[in-house]
């Protein structure tokens, strides 16, 4: 792999683009497969591996008796945490370890800052504005942790209209029922409202912020794996 190929892969990943790298297993010949190219081998691979690319399935395929490994890298998984509260601190760490890119949204800079969240991207904007700017795709999870309807509902306004694979909201059953009533008043459908996981997290009897973070992350991982086992990516 050339140094240039490595830096191209990393920059495409950072921009949340799918990247397809084809490697001939005997010679090590390698190309980044492009959608529009004059290269004959590029186009043969593109044609032969089209189903792999659609399904995000990396595999060795044979083209003219040569074996090519088609390595498909999808956009990194991403977790957007709305509310820079105590639970957000262990959650940001657990999610990072789990391979998620983490972004914290909270207009209150006193909570959302790099002192409290070292090395985490922070957006000090109103949740709906921030979420719309982030273009929430199907490899993104959104959780709201603020306990403040003004902020949580603002986030849900954007998240419920997005392709997020997971949306979760912190709060007791009572809080969640109140949230449902407000969202109904705001003309969200039952189907949309049912997308919200609330009370958030797997039931592991979590009490401390750290345990709640584990319960939330476990739920996100379980939903993600259900998607992938169904052949979605």
């Amino acid at each position: 792999m050339k140094d240039k190929t490595l830096s191209q892969i990393l920059s495409e990943k950072q921009n949340r683009n799918t990247i397809v790298v084809a490697t001939e297993i005997n010679s090590g010949e390698q190309i980044i497969v492009k959608n529009d190219s004059d290269s004959e081998i590029n186009n043969k691979i593109l044609f032969t591996a089209k189903n792999n690319i659609i399904q995000g399935k990396s595999e060795v395929i044979e083209i003219e008796s040569k074996k090519w490994f088609i390595n498909i890298s999808l956009a990194p998984l991403r977790l957007i945490i709305v509310g820079a509260v105590h639970i957000a601190q262990p959650l940001a760490e657990i999610a990072t370890i789990s391979g998620y890119e983490v972004i914290i949204i909270d207009p209150r800079a006193a909570f959302a800052n790099n002192q409290r969240f070292p090395d985490i991207k922070i957006v000090n904007e109103w949740p709906e504005v921030a979420l719309n700017n982030l273009e929430i795709d199907h490899r993104t999870a959104v959780v709201t942790l603020t306990h403040d309807p003004k902020l949580d509902d603002s986030a849900l306004n954007a998240a419920l209209k997005s392709n997020a694979f997971y949306i979760g909201s912190l709060g007791s059953k009572k809080t969640h029922n109140a949230r449902i009533q407000r969202l109904k008043m705001a003309h969200f459908s039952d189907t949309e409202i049912n997308k919200i996981h609330g009370p958030i997290g797997l039931n592991i009897g979590a009490k401390s912020p750290q345990e709640i973070a584990i319960s939330i992350m476990s739920e996100i991982v379980s939903i993600r794996n259900k998607f992938e086992n169904n052949g979605d990516n």
């Binding site: 050339k2 830096s7 990393l10 990943k13 297993i25």
Partner: protein, 109 residues
């Protein structure tokens, strides 16, 4: 920056420090293998390691091969099957099979 790909980010960092680096990638699996196709491990000339290609069963053998490959630049496809737990050779105790492609990172000179 978020660690969206800690393995390749590490590999790039080593390259920027002028280290020889090899990249191992699982390209095929059969049966119950511990890591899926696409799993990667980067190895530097100082034997810094990031990532994995199995549950720890074949890593030493892959690293040994990687040291040679980062010198010669000639890539290799390594094949591992079920191990005999009494023997010393590398293999998978889980009963699966894997193929690992190992290549040098860096321009051929």
């Amino acid at each position: 920056m978020s660690k969206f790909d800690d393995i390749l980010i590490k590999a790039e960092l080593w390259r920027k420090n002028n280290k020889s680096v090899a990249l191992a990638t699982v390209v095929s699996t059969w049966g119950s293998s511990p890591r899926p196709v696409g799993s990667q491990m980067a190895i530097s000339e100082d034997l810094d390691i990031q990532g994995s290609v199995s549950g720890g069963c074949i890593e030493s053998s892959v690293i040994t091969a990687a040291q040679e490959i980062m010198k010669t630049g000639k890539p290799k496809l390594l094949k591992y099957g079920v191990s005999n737990s009494e023997a010393w050779e590398a293999g998978l105790t889980c009963g699966g099979k894997v193929e690992v492609f190992v290549e040098r990172i860096g321009d051929n000179d």
